[in-house]
Symmetry: D2
């Protein structure tokens, strides 16, 4: 990973700012012969699109993706796939106040210090709009995975909003698409709607925890010791805006367990090794076990809020700031499709990397 590129063989470079003419992703390393269409990519972008309900920013962007290269007669050619999304709703007058003031908790100040650039129209490169490009690239990754690992299913969902978590006993895969929060727990979704509505009205915001589960990941993916599958997943999730923590399987809670409690016992099943539990989150020594790969991350609350906060100006004067504009009260919601896309990119990358380095898994059991 470097600057604006991630991936080893499947390499995604995103580009573009929140208020420029366009943004997109240069996707290099997709195998040839993968069916890729604008319609298929649009499906994933539509899931992330802002303004779909009252819980996300009211900025209206069609987020229509154009394929400019790398696809011929509906299939990838093996060459860079350029995905472009025009910005259309660049209304920037709401941001006027932030041209001179820094928003506490926002990248305004560090971007200014490092680059000497203050894009008064909005977040510029630090804006979460950049994640639209990730979702588009993730669509390409999913298409390649559909061909190479047909049984793979990657699903993201929210497991906590503010202090309110889901009840795992009510976990229902089918519920995830039925509520605006991608909650697998219908009752939690109802509670969150009420909670978020009141927060939104008060001009405040809140954090969330997102989980992504990849089912059907073959055993053997991951390249220790610095290209481990969990290392790359952690980097991918941590690179998403506002993420402050990443967990694999048991995550931070693993610290509190004893070895006897944490060990996922192994039995022999009809298709090879089977595991009684999945504390490991499907990864041992940085390599997938064949169990579900489970990654989880925390998104902090949006820093753009109506509550006045102390801050300073570019010229070093003490002041206060209130951020109006069209912001998400819980950015975690829209992080769900982004996280799915990142997981798809990482897994495809490791499928290709493994195929190059090792070919096929070398060790048989039984």
């Amino acid at each position: 990973m470097s600057f604006n590129t991630f991936g080893h063989i499947f390499r995604v470079t995103t580009w573009g700012e929140s208020h420029g003419p366009a943004l997109g992703a240069t996707v290099d390393g997709c195998p040839p012969g993968v069916p890729v269409t604008e319609e298929a990519l649009q499906h994933w972008l539509d899931l992330r699109k802002p303004g779909q309900n009252k819980f996300t920013t009211q900025r209206r962007e069609p987020d229509a993706v154009e394929i400019l290269s790398g696809v011929f007669e509906g299939h990838s050619t093996g060459h860079p796939i350029q995905l472009m999304i025009r910005n259309t709703d660049q209304r920037s007058k709401d941001y006027g106040d932030i041209a001179e003031k820094f928003r506490p908790g926002h990248a305004d100040i560090t971007y200014w210090q490092k680059y000497g650039i203050r894009d008064y129209r909005g977040g510029g490169r630090s804006s979460a709009r950049e994640t639209a490009a990730r979702v588009a690239a993730g669509g390409v990754a999913r298409a390649a995975l559909a061909k190479l690992v047909p049984d793979l299913r990657i699903t993201g969902y929210m497991v906590q909003m503010g202090p309110h978590g889901i009840d795992r006993a009510r976990f229902n895969w089918d519920e995830i698409d039925r509520n605006p929060f991608w909650s697998p727990d219908a009752r939690a979704a109802a509670d969150w709607a009420e909670y978020l509505d009141s927060l939104r009205k008060s001009g405040d915001s809140v954090g969330a925890v997102i989980e992504v589960t990849a089912r059907g990941v073959p055993a053997g993916l991951g390249a220790p010791v610095y290209g481990k599958l969990d290392t790359d997943l952690a980097a991918a999730m941590m690179s998403i805006n506002a993420v402050k923590g990443v967990e694999i399987g048991e995550g931070m809670a693993a610290a509190a367990l004893t070895g006897s409690a944490n060990a996922d016992e192994i039995t022999i099943g009809p298709d090879g090794p089977a595991y009684g539990t999945n504390h490991a989150g499907g990864i041992l020594g940085g390599i997938s076990t064949g169990q579900d790969v489970v990654v989880r991350f925390a998104v902090k609350p949006t820093s753009s809020i109506l509550t006045p906060r102390k801050t300073i100006t570019k010229s070093g004067e003490q002041t206060e700031i209130v951020t109006k504009g069209r912001h998400d009260p819980c950015v975690g919601i829209r992080a769900v499709p982004v996280a799915e896309a990142m997981a798809a990119c990482v897994i495809l990358d490791h499928v290709l990397w493994h195929r190059g380095h090792v070919g096929e898994n070398q060790g048989r059991i039984g």
Copy 2:
């Protein structure tokens, strides 16, 4: 990061297995003219060395580092620095039982599946012995940082063992070196000693949470959006053996906060911006703010325990395993110097990368 190399400009490649003749690190990209001596590197290795007290593995390794290249008359030349550590205590008879059986929670099985290699002498490349090479490389990074960022201090410590956390009110920087657990809380250290002793006697193990704080990090380090400082720190920590979660600043707890509670208000201080709180862990938008950089991670309990666990053999037969041998009841303890070393490598890498890409910070405040 790829395979066994991490870093962008300061690039560290580790090599070696637990029971081979030697292990080490090939360190490329160190600036010329940095004072580097075996003595200085040995200091850091001695801190990590096993067998120093009853709470770590009784394997006895001098872990003596030899500099084979890249240093001339006590200073780095700008060329690769080869650091070699001979393995001496390769007693492997204790491991006999694991030649055929897989240890639950251990990388045995995934290494076998992927590579078709079963090093019956021990963990091979997946062993935590690999981290000795990281500590040696970290020593080089510290030497370069001492020249380039003299005020920087990187300190790791344990904040939780099993379910028992420290009391932040008793946090004392000076205490960290005084107890075998790198605890900043003397009372917690005493409690942990008792707790761990009883665990060790029962043949069980336990997890831990480690925190690393870097004080004196200049503002401006980090290369969004995929070379963010927090992204690289997360990847670095997640690549350490047995790590299951990584947090920056508030970490997973950020999910439960509102925007108004989470915002680190900014005031103007004598040396520029000052912050009332540090929920952000010193990083905004992937770039350092000048505050303390705080990263934290969970280490799972060692999977090598005396409690019998269900497992299978290479030939696919159901069996049980008990792992004898010289294992750490809490591997988190020895992860502390490793984490410091990783943090040093990442920060130096970003100092050099920033210097190349941006030169000096471009934006002034005030």
Copy 3:
């Protein structure tokens, strides 16, 4: 370098095919604060533009470059600069015959074998149209170099067409822009015009040798032993379509020299070391000496010719081919601005890399 990206810190990824909707370059790693405008980039593209005289392809493309990201108020932001060039004249009917037949000497056949893609509309990704993106990226590199190394001048020119070389005694820097061949020798240019005209009429094509000289390159650039300045220049030039050989300084002729003849004697001048000759082409041990950096390469003749050649079809049948269409009789002509652009990218990359790794040159003379 990997797939479609080159460069270490200044990283250019080109994308796009000859007959797709657009092509371009994703330029990452440009320092912030560099003046970048579409007008300035267009200047360089216009120099490469086809259809400007009878000696280049009659395909008419405005090659108008659009900056889609990474520039704010006329200056680079430090983030990816997306440069897009729309394809407009995609007349493809002339290519009809090549949908089934492979052109001898052309990448048709290897692209088909590797990727299973036969873009019957034209060369696809293998077309020299891709080099328009390089020229645009080179314009960004030049802008950054103008700020960082103001005295640098990078000039490309043709020194041989077919068997006819220039006379170095008539070398005139000012002549280069005055003839359609970028020849520094006016008489050679006149001869070439006549020669090429007759070739063009006979439907044949011819090769050429191009030289690029960079004057004002500071001493110290280059990162031995695999990131040497000459290594990176060689790779950059060899990556251009139809290039079959690359030389630094004396080049292949160095083989015939004795050590006493080849040594560039060193004297002490007013500004430090001075050299009597420049057999080395400004590079010793992979590092610039401060002399002119001289790189030279051979371009083979276009494979698209009117002379009938034996070939086969996709279905494996023996046949003959004659390539009609709008092709350059000497592609070397349009390679000149491309080579300048590549040299600019490589030199900027090494300026930034050196600044990051070493800071400033460490050794003084005198």
Copy 4:
């Protein structure tokens, strides 16, 4: 490629100086299960070893390679293979004069300017001793290729010494191993012996041209447009000490040809496409055609000669230099095994890269 690493998937990092304790190569990305032994690697090192006849340096080094990691029970594990070669004959008194003076044509001066390091004992990192590490790494690459592409044969040989070329009509593969110059032309070898002997006695040196042919390269290797097979071969060869020019197939001479003369006509043979000629050197559009891959490069004469040359000292004084010591009158001789090793590394890298990205060739003919 960056700093001291080359390759994309098969990644080789060399380390070590001419007068340090050791040098070697860290080889990462070798597939698991490849037979690798010290004996097999030693075979290749012995071919390069100095002091074997009067035409190479009289420095006596056993160049004994030790495998420190990455091999278990005679097979690669998929983890880094550390190859170490101890320096034993570090006699440095002969070099005394060069501690203060710079040798014209040598990297002394640029290393000093860039790094501020003057290793008075010898060439340090710029010494051709570094190439021993390449040969060792190449031995690993050959072992992997023997498994993956059994019919591949990579052969290097000298085709020109000073102004004296071989006669292609006398080319004999079997002759190459029978003379000290790796000449495929026995008569040329005899002439060179006489010529070089007289040069050596006069204290002068001379350049050479080396060619490497890889027979049995499968079609489809190479990753356009910046990871082309010829691009990577050119970079690999140009990175070898003293190389000033690189050619593929027809090379620089391609400039003088017409398109009708240069086109390699295609016919259909029993195993697919067949080519009447091989001007292309087995590569079209950066991808192998299945023909012999032919790369050629020029090595300049050694700069360490007995003829006095003007130079300066570190303190900037004008002086003269005569380089005594044990130097090769024609370093090209020992470059032959190095070039073979580099070619092996590049081809293996592309075999693995192709396998990862594309899997198998996608397009069939016939």
